[in-house]
């Protein structure tokens, strides 16, 4: 990778003083990319695209949004009814949040399946989890802004989680609220942070891509690039593939925006916040449901830790555990394609997460999938148990016991032998 020589005088003049053009050229043009990447590798650039969409639509929403407890709800209704294309900008933003999480969740499970968190990609993986955490905070605070019933009560329930901590709990919650309940000061600070955090995410994305380019992309075989034959330049091969993926993605995203804009939403959020009445059934946005299920499934105390605190700790642990999986996974093989046993545990984990999501959406005492005698809470507890067992027991133990299939000598060999079908 020698530094490119620029023919255009202006380009050269700038680049000699600030090598930003060379940098972008390295990153998006000549970046040597494994030649066997599948469509699973599209979701990173898609997430980046959605981030930009969120920031742009957000900036235009702010031009008409009023962050005040008495006026926020009406200002959002005004965006929907009176502002030119306000409905479009808001629906892009609302559905964009769901699309963002879909892309990022697929992106994460891709990493889990192909062992992309293993050396030398641990820091890359960590930055990814930080992005997930920042996204969750952003989406949570954004959901409060329209000041509907779900906004208000979701904020109440989630901020109250922090009251579970001994001693500091109550002062902490009062501090988060800026009052004695969720109210105008809370709305204002959430607005401030909701504007700030996406730019923090943007910074993290830059670090994420920087780390990626230092360690290079993983690929479906999990075998590193060994010779130049194993890789192709990013442009035009992957720029075109990413663009194609973006087209497909836009069809799906815009289908929701135009034809089912409230599909992911809760009707209760079109009722203005009322501090005196809790909706009968509080549910978070779909992307939080698995974590919500983990939180609620802990209804017992353990080692003297009260249930409420334990639930909160379990919920946070569900994400924190992802930071240490590079060391929990003892297998020397990256890609699950060559891991006949672990592969099936991975499938169970995915199903487990869907079951958690289902449990998070239902009332604890409801029958699970209409099965009498089987309560949602019980299934939620089992699913929570598996979630943690997967990372804390299955990963280390299966990694040690399993006999992996033989790895291809190189990416090229696997491609020539039709490895893409394996």
């Amino acid at each position: 990778m020698s530094a490119p020589v620029w023919n255009n005088k202006v380009v050269k003049w700038v680049d000699d003083r600030l090598p930003i053009i060379s940098m972008v050229h390295h990153a998006a043009y000549e970046y040597p990319t494994p030649k066997n990447l599948s469509y699973m590798w599209n979701f990173g650039s898609l997430a980046g695209f959605v981030l930009v969409t969120m920031i742009l639509s957000g900036i235009f929403l702010v031009m008409n949004y009023t962050p005040h407890a008495d006026m926020a709800f009406d200002s959002v209704e005004r965006i929907m009814r009176d502002v030119n294309y306000g409905w479009l900008i808001r629906y892009l933003h609302v559905n964009g949040a769901s699309m963002f999480f879909i892309c990022v969740y697929i992106h994460i499970f891709r990493g889990l399946y192909y062992g992309s968190y293993k050396a030398p990609r641990e820091v890359l993986w960590w930055i990814g989890i930080l992005i997930l955490l920042a996204m969750m905070a952003t989406a949570f605070m954004g959901y409060v802004l329209p000041w509907g019933q779900m906004s208000f009560w979701g904020a109440t329930v989630i901020t109250n989680l922090f009251s579970a901590f001994p001693v500091i709990g109550d002062p902490l919650v009062t501090w988060l609220w800026g009052g004695f309940s969720v109210g105008n000061p809370t709305l204002n600070r959430f607005f401030s942070l909701h504007y700030l955090l996406p730019f923090v995410i943007l910074g993290l994305v830059v670090l994420h891509v920087w780390a990626l380019h230092a360690v290079r992309s993983n690929n479906p075989t999990g075998v590193e690039i060994k010779t130049p034959q194993d890789s192709i330049p990013f442009h035009p091969y992957y720029t075109i593939k990413d663009l194609f993926g973006m087209g497909v993605f836009l069809i799906i995203y815009l289908y929701f925006v135009f034809f089912a804009p409230n599909f992911f939403g809760e009707p209760d959020n079109y009722i203005m916040a009322n501090p005196l009445s809790t909706p009968a059934h509080i549910v978070p946005e779909w992307y939080f449901l698995p974590f919500y299920a983990i939180l609620r499934s802990i209804d017992f105390e353990f080692l003297g830790i009260p249930a409420k605190l334990l639930g909160v700790l379990a919920m946070f642990a569900a994400i924190i555990v992802l930071f240490v999986i590079p060391w929990l996974d003892t297998s020397k093989v990256r890609s699950s394609r060559f891991r006949p046993v672990y592969k099936w545990f991975f499938v169970i984990l995915v199903i487990d997460c869907f079951i958690l999501g289902y449990c998070g959406a239902k009332s604890p005492a409801d029958p699970f999938m209409g099965l009498h005698g089987l309560q949602v809470i019980t299934v939620g507890q089992l699913a929570t148990l598996y979630y943690f067992l997967h990372f804390l027991v299955v990963m280390p133990v299966v990694g040690k016991m399993e006999r992996p299939k033989p790895l291809p000598a190189s990416i090229s060999e696997s491609v020539l032998k039709g490895g893409a079908n394996a």
Partner: protein, 182 residues
């Protein structure tokens, strides 16, 4: 300067330098902390929020068996005019059956009036059971729909995930039929 301190040993300046580094770091850390504090504290309830007046409630319109909700510091307060049966139920429970043991006596000033903050001690939902017809749970008090906590006719937690009894706010009876909360 270094020449004058050489005497302290073959590793010149070590102690003095270490001390200076430590002291500078400590001052830096404390100073940064002090500079941060105003920003952190600005997020705590402001004076106008703290000054939120107390509320006075007229009780004469609440019939026996009825309850009302009033707003205090942005939160609902439940005021229930308890029936003989509800009072008796609340008094008859053995303390060892309670999650957060408290006698009914310690939670009321006048037996027939139960006054509690209407915020579930689990995660802050408003329990149902104040308006007539709402579910009151298994113990004749309140039922929280969010995660299924049951409170009894003294506002004490009896079943479900909530760890504590409904809080009793500070209040004083101004007359027999009027109470000041806060």
């Amino acid at each position: 300067m270094s020449q004058t301190v050489q005497s302290s040993g073959d590793k010149p300046d070590e102690n003095r330098r270490d001390f200076l580094t430590l002291a500078t770091t400590a001052v830096g850390v404390v100073g940064t902390g002090m500079a941060l504090w105003p920003f952190v504290d600005s997020m705590n309830p402001s004076k106008d929020v703290l000054a939120l007046a107390s509320v006075e409630v007229n009780l004469s319109n609440i019939a026996v068996g009825q309850a009302i909700k009033v707003m205090w510091r942005g939160k609902p307060v439940f005021i229930r005019h308890r029936t003989e049966r509800e009072i008796k139920e609340a008094e008859d429970v053995a303390l060892n059956q309670l999650v957060d043991p408290e006698t009914d006596d310690a939670r009321v000033k006048k037996k027939e009036w139960l006054i509690v903050v209407g915020v579930c001690t689990h995660l802050g939902c408003i329990p149902m059971g104040t308006a007539t017809g709402e579910p009151r749970g298994d113990f004749d008090g309140w039922y929280c729909p969010c995660h299924g906590s049951h409170y009894d006719s003294s506002g004490r937690i009896r079943k479900g995930p909530a760890p504590k009894n409904l809080h009793v706010p500070t209040y004083t009876f101004l007359t027999d039929t009027s109470v000041k909360i806060g």
